[in-house]
Amino acid sequence: MISYIFSRLLQSLLSILGAIVIIFILSRVLPGNPAIAILGPKATPENIERVTREWGLDKSYLEQFAIYFSRLLQGDLGDSYVMGHSVNVLIRERIPASFELVITAFVISSALGIFLGILAARKHDTRLDLALSTFSVLGFSFPTMLLGIALLLFFGLNLGLPVGGRIDPRYHIKIYTGFMLIDTLLNGNISAFIDSLLRILPPALTLAIPLTCLLIRLGRNSMLEVMMQEFVRTAKMKRLPESVIMNRHILRNALIPIVTVMGLYFAVIVTGDIIVETIFAWPGLGRLIWEAITLRDYMVIQGSILVVSIIYIAVNAIVDTLYIYIDPRIRE
């Protein structure tokens, strides 16, 4: 087990290295002078000189990579001349918002998806099962862009609820955790809490619905397969209570293929997050990327992509380790 964690860690580090190399290559493959691209509208001759010196743009590619890599190791993602802050600062102030959104969506979709998946398996081949299966196929094919816009319209125009942003800017909330839902409660401001709850709901739902559909399909099929296994018959023979058979024997085994899919899950969330944050003006990392694209701010684009990639690699490593922990058969 320990040796596996080590090798998996090594694998992750190599992946991170690979991501760094790709991003570096892309940043230098730009048509034209990279310094001009980095500076954008602020491309004065002095600035160009400064940036060239800073990143060693007149030296060989290997030396440039060394500079890039060493700055990276110090946690320095460079400075955005276009937006006027260091990339670190920009990313750091946006991450909590994305975090809150993603976690909320994850919780909603996991709870709903697994519950409905089990329901569909229990009532398989009935009309309810067919309805759920149809819904899950439709929901998964529904483009996030359309879903987001539709929910924006529904919540904002039809229901007249507040949408866009995390909270009404007129509230003054002291930040403790960076999670608006928690901080508003910690501030004792109930109306602010409700406001932030209403604003996080549409984007979270937009993210959650495709994932829920994925989970319903997966959960249902996995459950059905497990229910047909012989050890379930053994559990019935032992006259164990229904709840024990369901939880200890069926669910635990059915969850395994779901856990293995979690890595893919995360990639879907990442893709959807950028769209959702753009549509709902959610001040997170995704929206930062969109702003950077609009402003042609390469430093921010690259820095953000690197950060997201590292998180992605870490999540995959954790999921794989979790999988080994759950399934003793794999531990060789």
């Binding site: 081949d125 196929v137 483009p143 816009i149 950028i274 769209i275 753009t278 690259q302």
Partner: protein, 286 residues
């Protein structure tokens, strides 16, 4: 020949494939008709901005789905976008599929060092989540549809490589391949005549499902500004522009989305049906 007709008949009996195919045919028919018969051009700007659906126009046809922020007919633009987006999707899977197929075949068949190197390269490519990599590539090379297609093709190529390689590995050691090698058949002949037929069904199924992914990728990239540019009629771009004026008019943003949804749905259904068809367990509930 007869066997192919048999297979097609069986495929058509699968509900999902029937539904998907019918939606696809309906969409293609409507789009073609609109393109041929519409009195409006896709880039025809006018003063009739944000007219609601079914609003009358200066021509003999009303604006069936309304007009957008530049007074252009939405229905016409959506139909052109259908042709454009599906073509882009096909271009993506043709590109990534072809390259992925070759890499998978070579890697799986030759094994050894070649396999090791190629798979390492694939691993590096997938260390970055697909969409992020597409953004990285597209933002570096300039925002246009062509670069977007290349970017998405690069990002999705490893999927095919892995898939094909897997099939090659499992068929490589099979009896008829060994027999062919004994008989002195050249490598290329072995691959094309004996291994490829086993690869194709899974490959085609994957490609069909990837087609809807490709269309979504292109549209999403355009949505955030990295793909199609104005005045190109492209779904993602139309939705992005439409979103900005969503309070005045919802139809320029919503209808392209619905068209995209139906298209993606039809390809997903077909791909799903194909996958069930090929599944050796032949699931009874469809």
């Amino acid at each position: 020949m007869n066997r192919n007709f048999e297979n097609i008949k069986i495929l058509l009996s699968i509900k999902r494939i029937r539904y998907g195919l019918s939606i696809l045919i309906a969409l293609t028919a409507v789009a073609t008709l609109v393109i041929l018969l519409s009195p409006f051009k896709y880039d025809q700007i006018s003063y009739n901005v944000h007219l609601p659906p079914l609003a009358p126009s200066t021509f003999h046809w009303p604006h069936i789905l309304g007009t957008d922020s530049l007074g252009r007919d939405v229905f016409t633009r959506i139909s052109y976008a259908y042709i454009l987006d599906v073509s882009c999707g096909l271009a993506v899977i043709a590109l990534s599929g072809a390259v992925g197929l070759v890499i998978g075949l070579v890697s799986g068949y030759l094994g050894g060092v070649v396999d090791g190197i190629l798979m390492r390269l694939m691993d590096i490519l997938i260390s970055i989540p697909g969409f992020m990599l597409a953004i990285a590539i597209a933002s570096v090379f300039g925002s246009n549809l062509f670069n977007a297609i290349i970017a998405v093709a690069i990002v999705t190529m490893p999927i095919y490589a892995r898939l094909v390689r897997g099939v090659v590995l499992s068929t490589k050691e099979s009896l008829f391949v060994l027999a062919a090698r004994e008989a002195g058949l050249g490598d290329i002949k072995i691959v094309t005549k004996h291994i490829l037929p086993h690869v194709m069904p899974i490959f085609i199924t994957q490609a069909t499902m990837e087609l809807s992914n490709a269309i979504l990728y292109i549209a999403t990239l355009s949505f955030i500004g990295l793909g199609a540019q104005e005045p190109t009629p492209e779904w993602g771009l139309m939705m992005s522009v439409g979103r900005r004026y969503i309070r005045e008019a919802w139809w320029p943003a919503v209808f392209p989305g619905i068209a995209m949804f139906l298209t993606v749905l039809s390809f997903n259904l077909i791909g799903d049906g194909l996958r069930d068809y090929l599944d050796p367990k032949k699931r009874l509930s469809s």
